[in-house]
């Protein structure tokens, strides 16, 4: 288009590329470091090899799991999965109520649902620690899950709200007029059309929970030891490039998840 000239997209694209490269640079560095054949963080690496991947694999495949890496990975996956399911179970109906219903106190509910987005994680973690210690809940899994569900709830609700707002009320009404009761119009019309938002919310919930450190750091217990905390404590002990190989694995996982996210969500986009 002439209006915008040919320079502008190039210029903007260039700036964007540069900025994103900077934003991404620590992650790229981690990936490059994982390929070093030295044993220190010398950068750029003196040479390249896959030796640290081998050592990472040994850690993962260690039958006794002495490093508790596999356990941490499984714990994290289990937490994220549970968080994903619970958060959508809580978030989808809430989104429906917020979009389709008018009720007193709605602005307050809206604020409350968005609150976790800005609630200080440290305070969340610590206050939960206080709650569980006062209530005597030692269930480490449950307390991390509950805190994480709270944390990701805004992502789920906001994405569902976005896709539900895009669904004209007339479609639901058409179903009603054609003889569908509320439940069937929900199952046949509402949920299928909300799919992009639901999927976006669920995946974001999974990704956020899987990578979340602060809250997990305060709430983990001896038996429930999620991966981010594992990585932290491991990196406090030694910084050999194995941890970078492991991290690259996590990056790959995140990468794949976000890729799926975008594929499934498509044009609607992701709401943060």
């Amino acid at each position: 288009m002439i209006a915008r000239g040919r320079i502008e997209p190039l210029l903007l694209g260039g700036i964007t590329g540069l900025l994103l490269l900077i934003m991404l640079s620590p992650i790229l560095t981690v990936v490059v470091m994982s390929l070093t054949d030295g044993s220190t963080l010398q950068f750029p690496p003196p040479g390249f090899s896959l030796r640290w991947y081998r050592s990472a694999w040994e850690l993962l495949a260690d039958p006794a799991d002495t490093g508790r890496f596999r356990e941490a990975l499984v714990t994290s996956l289990a937490i994220s999965l549970t968080v994903m399911i619970l958060a959508s179970a809580a978030g989808i109906p809430a989104a429906y109520a917020l979009v389709r219903h008018r009720f007193r106190g709605k602005p307050l509910v809206e604020i409350l649902v968005t609150l976790p987005l800005v609630f200080p994680l440290v305070v969340l973690g610590i206050s939960f620690l206080v709650i569980v210690s006062e209530l005597g809940i030692e269930q480490g899994f449950l307390r991390i899950v509950v805190a994480h569900v709270i944390l990701v709830l805004p992502f789920v609700v906001r994405n569902c709200v976005a896709s539900l707002t895009a669904l004209p009320l007339s479609h639901e009404e058409a179903a009603r007029v054609l003889g569908a009761n509320w439940w069937r119009s929900l199952m046949e019309i509402v949920l299928p059309t909300m799919k992009p938002g639901i999927v976006a919310g669920m995946l974001l919930a999974f990704i956020v929970s899987f990578n979340e450190f602060t809250v997990a750091y305060f709430l983990y217990t001896i038996d429930v030891f999620p991966l981010p905390v594992w990585l932290f404590s491991r990196s406090n002990t030694s910084l050999d490039p194995t941890i970078f190989a492991l991290s690259s694995g996590v990056i790959l996982l995140d990468f794949i998840l976000i890729w799926i996210l975008d594929r499934l969500v498509g044009r609607q986009g992701v709401t943060l």
Partner: protein, 289 residues
């Protein structure tokens, strides 16, 4: 827009489906914990160390006025504002680009690259920064090679490192709302301005930026709230030399076991977050109208 808002409020002869409160119940259970936690912190803040539940005093709030905590609050504010400003300014061109990208693959790649820093485990990213920014790191070596510096500059373990980290992690929080705001501006407005004689810069200044202002403001609030309560970034990139409020809260609640004092600081932080959120919601609602 108005029409949609109106029809949304329409009610059937007999209300269909469950009561809205029933629908909100599951989310309410979880958010109930959050409220409980907040109230608990509020209560704790009036206690005394060692007798947290049986005393009521304003001692902890008075203690916040001590120079260290006041300084920390100021530092937290300053860093949040600076990082928010940088983030939003940097986000503008990226948002502008993203909003107008039509190719699916490019859009996908952008989103991916954008979201990674926010979502990725920060512990890992901090090692990346270490390698890049240390006095012996890539950046310093590059600058020295270019002859821009002769002594290595310390980018890490100080405010600049923390600011960088804050900018990096909050970046997508700024880009996405702004891009969404720009996307809703009809291209015809830009074209109209061009036909009325505005060159591209003036179109951006007089049309795009004012129209995206609400999105920009919303993004700023989001980023500010996110950064003001940042914990991991100063924790990992600050070398313990940048005592943002969240870190001090953690020290009080953890090592120093002074729960009431930590709680009082938490109350300050939460109050700040709430204020920002209220402003954000207010904006969001105005935009719908």
């Amino acid at each position: 827009m108005v029409r949609a808002a109106i029809s949304r409020a329409a009610g059937e002869e007999r209300p269909a489906g469950p009561n809205p409160w029933l629908l909100l119940l599951p989310a309410g259970v979880f958010l109930g914990f959050l409220i409980l936690a907040s109230l608990l912190i509020l209560r704790l803040s009036f206690g005394v160390k060692g007798a947290e539940w049986s005393t009521w005093t304003l001692e902890s709030y008075r203690a916040i006025l001590s120079s260290l905590y006041l300084k920390s609050i100021l530092l937290t504010f300053r860093l949040s504002i600076v990082s928010t400003a940088i983030t939003v300014i940097l986000a503008l061109p990226v948002a502008l680009f993203m909003a107008r990208v039509t190719q699916a693959y490019l859009r996908r790649l952008l989103l991916l690259v954008l979201l990674l820093p926010l979502l990725m485990n920060l512990v890992l990213q901090s090692y990346g920064w270490l390698v890049l920014l240390a006095p012996d790191g890539l950046l310093n070596r590059a600058l020295r090679l270019l002859g821009l510096i002769d002594r290595p500059v310390l980018f890490l373990f100080n405010e600049s490192g923390v600011t960088l980290g804050l900018v990096q992690t909050a970046f997508p929080l700024a880009v996405l709302p702004i891009a969404n705001a720009i996307r809703t501006i009809p291209p015809s407005l830009e074209e109209a301005a061009a036909l009325l004689g505005a060159n591209r810069l003036r179109v951006i200044r007089h049309v795009l930026l004012p129209l995206a202002a609400q999105g920009i403001l919303a993004a700023s609030l989001l980023v500010f709230a996110f950064n003001v309560s940042a914990f991991v970034v100063p924790f990992l990139l600050g070398g313990r030399r940048v005592s943002m409020l969240a870190l001090l809260i953690r020290d009080q609640m953890g090592p120093l076991l002074n729960w009431p004092f930590g709680a009082a600081n938490s109350v300050v932080l939460v109050a700040l977050a709430l204020a920002v959120l209220a402003a954000y919601q207010h904006l969001a609602r105005r935009r719908v109208r």
